[in-house]
């Protein structure tokens, strides 16, 4: 009883395989695909429901971020970015217009900035001689301060200072004074104002006198 159905099943299986093989060979897959309305098919898919079923955290955990980053050629990526084009699209004027410059200035502690500025150092870097020689400032000074008496006094005093320096230089040599010497009383000349004993300002005084 049982051997008859088994033989029948085997026969049916062989026939089905042959038939299916022939049918598959006969089907034009390209024509079939063209007949499929993919948009309608996609529209029927519940993407939201599908995404809700996805465990994103788990997916992310499985991603080897370092491996991905290591494979990225950053230099090539940067080269590919057209920075000029990006900058040209930025409306800088609109950004500047949105900045409240007044509020910004109010937040600046000018006193603190001024405290950090070494005004003396700036003044020392100014070439006052060149400024007076090459600008109208010289004429202004000349007209406001020059006079026969002033010129005469400058000349007399310069000669006196020159002779003083001449004598001082020889005295310092005779007394073998070396190193820095105080040039004036402490209240008038800070310690930093000390000059070497051999230093002479005779040349400067000659400049004045000439």
């Amino acid at each position: 009883m049982s051997s008859a159905p088994r033989g029948f099943d085997r026969l049916a299986q062989m026939i089905a395989e042959q038939v299916v093989g022939r049918v598959v060979e006969a089907i034009d897959i390209d024509a079939l695909v063209q007949q499929v309305d993919i948009d309608a098919l996609v529209a029927r898919v519940d993407v939201d429901g599908l995404l809700e079923r996805v465990d994103v955290e788990r997916v992310i955990e499985r991603i080897d971020v370092n491996g991905v980053v290591a494979r990225v050629d950053v230099a090539e990526l940067i080269d590919a970015i057209d920075v000029e084009a990006i900058v040209s699209r930025v409306d800088v004027q609109a950004i500047v217009d949105r900045i409240d410059v007044g509020a910004l200035v109010d937040r600046i502690d000018v006193d603190r900035i001024m405290d950090r500025i070494d005004v003396q150092e700036i003044a020392n870097r100014i070439d006052v001689d060149a400024l007076v020689e090459q600008t109208e400032l010289g004429s202004i000074i000349a007209r406001s301060t020059s006079g026969v008496l002033t010129e005469g006094l400058d000349l007399i005093r310069s000669q006196g200072v020159g002779l003083d320096d001449f004598v001082n230089r020889w005295v310092n040599r005779a007394m073998r004074r070396h190193g820095e010497q105080p040039v004036g009383p402490p209240l008038l000349i800070p310690a930093a104002g000390a000059l070497p004993a051999s230093t002479s300002s005779l040349e400067q005084a000659k400049d004045h006198a000439s």
């Binding site: 020392n124 100014i126 070439d127 006052v128 001689d129 060149a130 007076v132 020689e133 090459q134 400032l137 010289g138 004429s139 202004i140 000074i141 000349a142 301060t145 020059s146 002033t150 010129e151 006094l153 400058d154 007399i156 005093r157 310069s158 006196g160 200072v161 002779l163 003083d164 320096d165 004598v167 001082n168 005295v171 007394m175 004074r177 010497q181 105080p182 040039v183 004036g184 009383p185 402490p186 209240l187 008038l188 000349i189 300002s201 400067q204 005084a205 400049d207 004045h208």
Partner: protein, 177 residues
């Protein structure tokens, strides 16, 4: 182009012997001239009032007293008032305390009284002005004072440069014409 640090202001530096000597000589001349003028005025007034002329040359003791008192007044009053006499002002000098502050009347008087002693003993008291670093003589040390330059050499240099600038401009305008 000259370095601006090259022209150092001498204001506040210890004044040297030559400037001080010349200023003192100027002061002596001014004091004598003023004294002679005052004596002349007094003599003329007495002659005008009494009709008799007085010959001060015969009054040696009085003359010495007048000279001493006048010198004391001349120097101490001016030093106490501004730290400088007329002669010192001409040469840009000023008397200050050893620390650099303004001197008191007492120091001015002490300095004036001590000055003759510095000069008297063969000028020994003045050697310090030449040989000491702070250029202080006996009278300075007794009064606790020193002498400094009171004029700004840098300002003088700027005035000189300004004059050169003006002269150069004048020369250029002449050549353009």
């Amino acid at each position: 182009m000259r370095n601006p640090r090259g022209s150092v202001s001498r204001q506040g530096n210890y004044a040297g012997a030559i400037s001080r000597l010349v200023a003192f000589a100027a002061d002596v001349a001014i004091a004598w001239a003023t004294l002679l003028f005052l004596v002349g005025v007094v003599s003329a007034t007495i002659t005008f009032l009494t009709g008799r002329s007085i010959d001060f040359r015969s009054l040696h003791l009085l003359a010495i007293v007048v000279v001493v008192v006048w010198s004391l007044i001349y120097f101490s009053y001016q030093w106490a008032l501004s730290g400088k006499t007329v002669g010192m002002a001409l040469f840009g000098l000023r008397v200050v305390t050893a620390e650099g502050g303004g001197i008191r009347s007492r120091q001015a008087v002490t300095r004036t009284l001590a000055l003759p002693f510095s000069i008297a003993i063969a000028g020994l008291g003045l050697f310090g002005i030449v040989f000491r670093i702070d250029h202080r003589g006996w009278h300075d040390r007794l009064a606790g004072t020193c002498v400094v330059y009171d004029w700004d050499a840098r300002a003088a240099r700027l005035r000189w440069l300004a004059r050169q600038h003006d002269l150069a401009e004048a020369g250029q305008s002449r050549s353009a014409q």
